[in-house]
């Protein structure tokens, strides 16, 4: 209840507002003065070398990591504020992990219904109806009663996406969703993500999957050493991948030259 009393700091279209955020792990500086605004319905793609702070930035958005300083406002709610009920914000922000993080002791269906019942207070019947519908949308309606251990990587990730979507989130965060998958399974997950993007979901995707960039990304952000080095439009990115000299920053050029072998 309290969170609704907080005056929203941004009344415009920015659903995520990241302002001068710093974060260190011991002596390692993960985020250095990062600022970023994401508009409602925007698909934002973040890439860059590992250890560059991409995942940390993503995890700061739903407060799985606590920034050392700076402000993050999600859908008008300041998540960096001490008194904010973070559980409420998290229910509005879906997250998909690299290693799926499905609950192994529960069936696919129960994985999707659990938070609906406990957080959204939906009835068992309603939660199951939504879960089955979502399993159909991600293309595996027949796996409702399977345990995560009986699913392939691609199927697991699709259940994980359905689990996040069941909460009716306003934002979806993807933390390297295809990095742990076999090549032939990447497409099935990517297709689900592309469909989501076409439906107008606000998405922040940390990934190396350039196929997604070509098809769905509206903004492309290159991060290295805890900083946002460069921001590109899909057209600029396409040009840069064909002719590396078109990348504005030296570090972007270097990284692209390595991944485009």
């Amino acid at each position: 209840m309290k969170s609704s009393m907080v005056e929203p700091l941004s009344r415009d279209d920015d659903i995520i507002l990241i302002d001068h955020v710093y974060k260190s792990f011991g002596k390692t500086r993960a985020l250095v003065d990062v600022s970023l605004r994401v508009k409602r319905g925007e698909v934002c793609f973040i890439f860059g070398p590992s250890g560059g702070g991409k995942s940390t930035l993503l995890r700061c958005i739903n407060h799985l990591e606590k920034p050392d300083s700076g402000t993050i406002i999600v859908d008008g709610i300041p998540v960096t504020e001490e008194k904010t009920n973070i559980d409420k914000v998290r229910a509005e922000v879906g997250m998909v992990f690299q290693l799926f993080n499905l609950f192994p002791h529960l069936t696919a269906l129960r994985n999707i219904t659990l938070a609906q019942e406990k957080v959204r207070r939906r009835s068992k019947e309603e939660a199951e109806r939504i879960a089955r519908e979502l399993l159909g949308r991600v293309g595996i309606p027949e796996k409702a009663d399977a345990y995560p251990g009986q699913l392939s990587g691609g199927q697991k990730q699709r259940v994980a996406i359905a689990r996040a979507l069941a909460m009716n989130p306003k934002i979806m965060l993807f933390d390297e969703p295809t990095s742990a998958l076999d090549p032939e399974m990447i497409k099935e997950v990517l297709d689900v993500m592309l469909e989501l993007a076409s439906e107008g979901m606000t998405m922040v995707v940390v990934s190396h999957e350039m196929g997604f960039v070509k098809e769905a990304a509206r903004r492309i952000i290159f991060m290295d050493e805890g900083k946002i080095v460069e921001e590109m439009t899909p057209e600029e990115m396409r040009a840069a991948t064909q002719n590396l000299d078109l990348a504005k920053e030296e570090r972007t050029r270097l990284f692209l030259s390595k991944i485009l072998v």
Partner: protein
Amino acid sequence: MAITSEVERPQPKLIPWTKKLTQLPWWALIILLAGVLIVYFLFTSPTYQDAFSFLRAGVRLTILVSLIAFGLSLILGLIAGLGRVSKNVVSYTISSFYVEVIRGIPLLVLLIYFAYVVTPLALQFLNWLGTAMLQNLTIGPLMGLAHSLADLNIQNVDMLARAIAGLAFAYGAFEAEVFRAGIESIERGQMEAARSLGMSYFQAMRYVILPQAIRRVLPPFGNDFIAMLKDSSLISVLAVRELTQLGKLNRARTFRTYETWNTVAFLYLIMTLSLSLLVKFMERRMAFEE
């Protein structure tokens, strides 16, 4: 690069029968033989029969005490274990204090301490509380409670209750560590996934972490229950008439030392061995499920 393996694989050999013989579980066979011998005595010797019928009630009480005390220790252990993994300084400090103090004191001393120090102190406190309530309340629904608190007498708390409390608190510290180990063995991503769906810390614990953690620590719980069954013999110092105490009484009654303690040891062995078979079965089933 093609892998060329010219090295000859060693042929699997049949295990020679001499080696098979050394690998047989001889220890189990010896125990079985001793068991057969005791059972034979139980059927033929009147002294053994007399001892057995006298000790039977003790077996029942030993099992009862172990079950109740272990159940309580699991509850205490869960609370203290959650405190041990908590980021809250107060609950971490309290539960760590409990665990470290209890683990550092011998069980026998703990049992005596609970029976003769903690119980009287707790009673004095309750009496004081009841009297204070009587003085400050005029009339109300709590009057009955206040009266019974003020009138509580040390004689009302029998040694069996004190013994069970002592065992439960002593083992609670060990179970707390088992719970802690189980909770910490669950990957961090599970908590993160649950929290990112908007579940509170306690919801995530209750529905995601604990169900997985408890499944993993069932075998250690089984082993601790066996240990508790054996350690319940120590409450004989409080004159609780469990198996060991009845053994002492039977020896004093009949002066048949060998027969008495043979039977007592055999009865314990039957209980613990069958329980450890159960734990082994449980472990195998769990390994299969993983």
